[in-house]
């Protein structure tokens, strides 16, 4: 624990200590946390941040629930499903990292799959129980493909690239940012079919915290959010520097891979219509919930306010 121990929250001299967990490991898309730290944004906000490497939605929500971290980054859509099913409800999003979901179908050129429709009769591997797998029927239907015509292999995410490269499957359901890795592995041109082509209302990653902390120290939440988003902004503005900062924290992650990921995700970070970075609006969240309910992924009754605290979300 340790975060927000300061009951009064009045004394600005005192630095707050919090822990933050990235969405998944230390990769380009999560570099902004290290950037915010390295650039001193957290320090300016009077916060000392311990950055931990995440391992996906369930572990991150667990860490948050156990009080081992106060803030987390994770896939918003997946988290909403978990909230809707009542599995994890003790969290609120305070900003969106990606305005559009990054999940997509990915394949290599030689499979001759160039559109969703081409997937009929093929085999596709996805992370077992992942959002990619759960949303595929909705995505396929919107794209005019019978979801049952595709054979889905649910596996551990780490084996995906290997399966594609060894052509044990014809396509992957994965994050589009792993495109570079797949290209490197298969040495082939990669074809990406983002879910966001049809599912426009889904957010990608979001930053979340607990309702308890919001209640106890809203100022800390606000300061943290601001600093982190500043880091995000700086990262997409200076991908090379961001990748270099990340490489310092994680030398085994090549700078080039970092630059590639950050550049690839830049269009997804900037909101349409000039809204500030991190923005989320209630209508879109409601539509997200509706899509998820409509696909039978969760029961009805979830209120957008139950997953997002709009008072912290940056507004234009």
């Amino acid at each position: 624990g340790g975060g927000g121990d300061d009951d009064t929250g009045a004394s600005p001299k005192e630095t707050d200590k919090v822990a933050y967990i990235t969405a998944f490991g230390a990769v380009g898309r999560d570099s902004f946390a290290w950037v915010a730290k390295e650039k001193g944004y957290f320090a300016e906000a009077g916060i000392e941040v311990d950055i931990k490497k995440g391992a996906g939605n369930a572990p991150n929500l667990t860490a948050l629930k156990a009080g081992q971290v106060q803030f987390a980054s994770l896939d918003f859509t997946g988290a909403v499903i978990q909230a809707g099913k009542g599995e994890f409800t003790d969290w609120r999003a305070i900003a969106a990292v990606h305005q559009q979901t990054l999940i997509s179908v990915m394949t290599t050129k030689d499979t001759n799959i160039s559109s969703v429709q081409d997937l009929a009769g093929k085999t596709m591997a996805t992370g077992k129980g992942s959002v990619t797998e759960l949303l595929f029927p909705a995505y396929a239907k919107l794209a005019g493909l019978d979801p049952k015509s595709v054979k889905i292999e649910g596996v551990q995410p780490t084996v995906l690239n290997g399966l594609m490269t060894s052509r044990q499957v014809d396509a992957l359901g994965t994050f589009l940012l792993s495109r570079g890795a797949l290209a490197a592995a298969s040495k082939k041109e990669v074809v990406v079919l983002p879910y966001s082509d049809y599912l426009r209302d889904l957010f990608g990653n979001a930053i979340i915290t607990t309702p308890a902390l919001i209640e106890k120290d809203p100022d800390l939440v606000r300061r943290f959010n601001g600093a982190l988003l500043k880091g995000l902004q700086y990262s997409i503005d200076h991908p090379d520097e961001a990748a270099a900062i990340l490489n310092k924290a994680e030398p085994t992650y090549a700078v080039a891979s970092g630059v590639g990921e950050i550049t690839a995700m830049t269009p997804y970070v900037k909101p349409a219509g000039g809204a500030p970075i991190g923005a989320m609006d209630e209508q879109r969240v409601a539509r997200t919930i509706a899509i998820l309910q409509g696909s039978g992924l969760m029961p009805a009754g979830l209120d957008p306010k139950g997953v997002v605290d709009f008072s912290f979300v940056p507004k234009s």
């Binding site: 369930a58 156990a66 994890f88 129980g129 292999e153 551990q156 780490t158 084996v159 290997g162």
Partner: protein
């Protein structure tokens, strides 16, 4: 020492069945108490009742998945143990081969199998064979090491005896060394029995198409800790059963050790 006149029937039953049962009951009670006393949420640590309930939600499915895991485990355990023992025999036959390959085997064995699981799938495929190979990899080493130790622990008396009879290497092996090594081989088999189950589940976590590993994956995705615990409990039961099966085999195959030692 060698003669236990007091080992009456009921006492023995109590010792061999009553005490273990008591131990399990006490552990369950403690578990239950802890969950109640500290008001622990089922998400962190479900009470035994939650676990039973989770099991009763899907008894057929869980049993079926358990059966699949057990199959993988059993086949892999058998292959791995036989392979381990066979390589130990090879090493016993040729210390040159042993010196050349044992360091490599020790090295390869230290490579985390969990890190190898994705590679296995890529090399072998999304099938049961890849899972069995994982089990084999985990069982192999303990049986190898313990068999080697057993084969080299034959007392000089007996070695000289078979030597003086001009027994061939193979005869010495079959009639003296293997039997003498059995108690130690069983140490390896006991350790391997647990590792076999672990191997099967690691493989199932990587390719969660079936088995209790798949149940754990899907229950952790839905934060259904009681269900995950139901699967873990089945695995634990399986582990204890396999362990005591090995112990029973030992009692049948090497009754003489208990007579000459204590």
């Amino acid at each position: 020492m060698t003669d236990k006149t007091t080992d009456a029937g009921p006492r023995r039953l109590w010792f061999n069945a009553g005490l273990p049962a008591l131990g399990v009951v006490l552990a369950l009670a403690l578990w239950w108490l802890v969950t109640i006393a500290f008001g622990i949420e089922p998400f962190w640590l479900p009470a035994p009742s939650d676990v039973v309930e989770a099991f009763l939600r899907l008894p057929g499915h869980l049993t079926e998945q358990a059966g699949m895991t057990l199959m993988t485990t059993a086949v892999g355990f058998a292959i791995g143990s036989i392979a381990g023992a066979a390589v130990a025999v090879l090493f016993a036959a040729s210390s040159t081969i042993e010196r050349m390959t044992m360091p490599l085997i020790a090295a390869i064995n230290a490579v985390p199998k969990a890190a190898l699981a994705p590679l296995l799938i890529v090399w072998i495929g999304l099938n049961t064979q890849a899972k069995i190979v994982m089990v084999v990899l985990l069982c192999f080493f303990p049986v190898l090491v313990s068999t080697m130790a057993g084969l080299t622990s034959v007392p000089n008396d007996l070695r000289e005896l078979s030597h003086s009879l001009s027994a061939s290497w193979w005869q010495t092996f079959v009639k003296v060394r293997i039997t003498w090594a059995l108690p130690q081989i069983f140490v390896g088999l006991k350790v391997a029995s647990s590792l076999a189950i672990i191997g099967a589940v690691i493989a199932e976590l990587t390719n969660p198409d079936r088995g209790l590993g798949a149940v754990i994956v899907s229950s952790s995705q839905s934060a259904d800790t009681p269900l995950a615990f139901a699967a873990l409990t089945l695995l634990a039961l399986m582990g204890a059963a396999l362990f005591y099966l090995v112990v029973a085999m030992e009692r049948i195959l090497v009754p003489w050790t208990r007579a000459i030692s204590s």
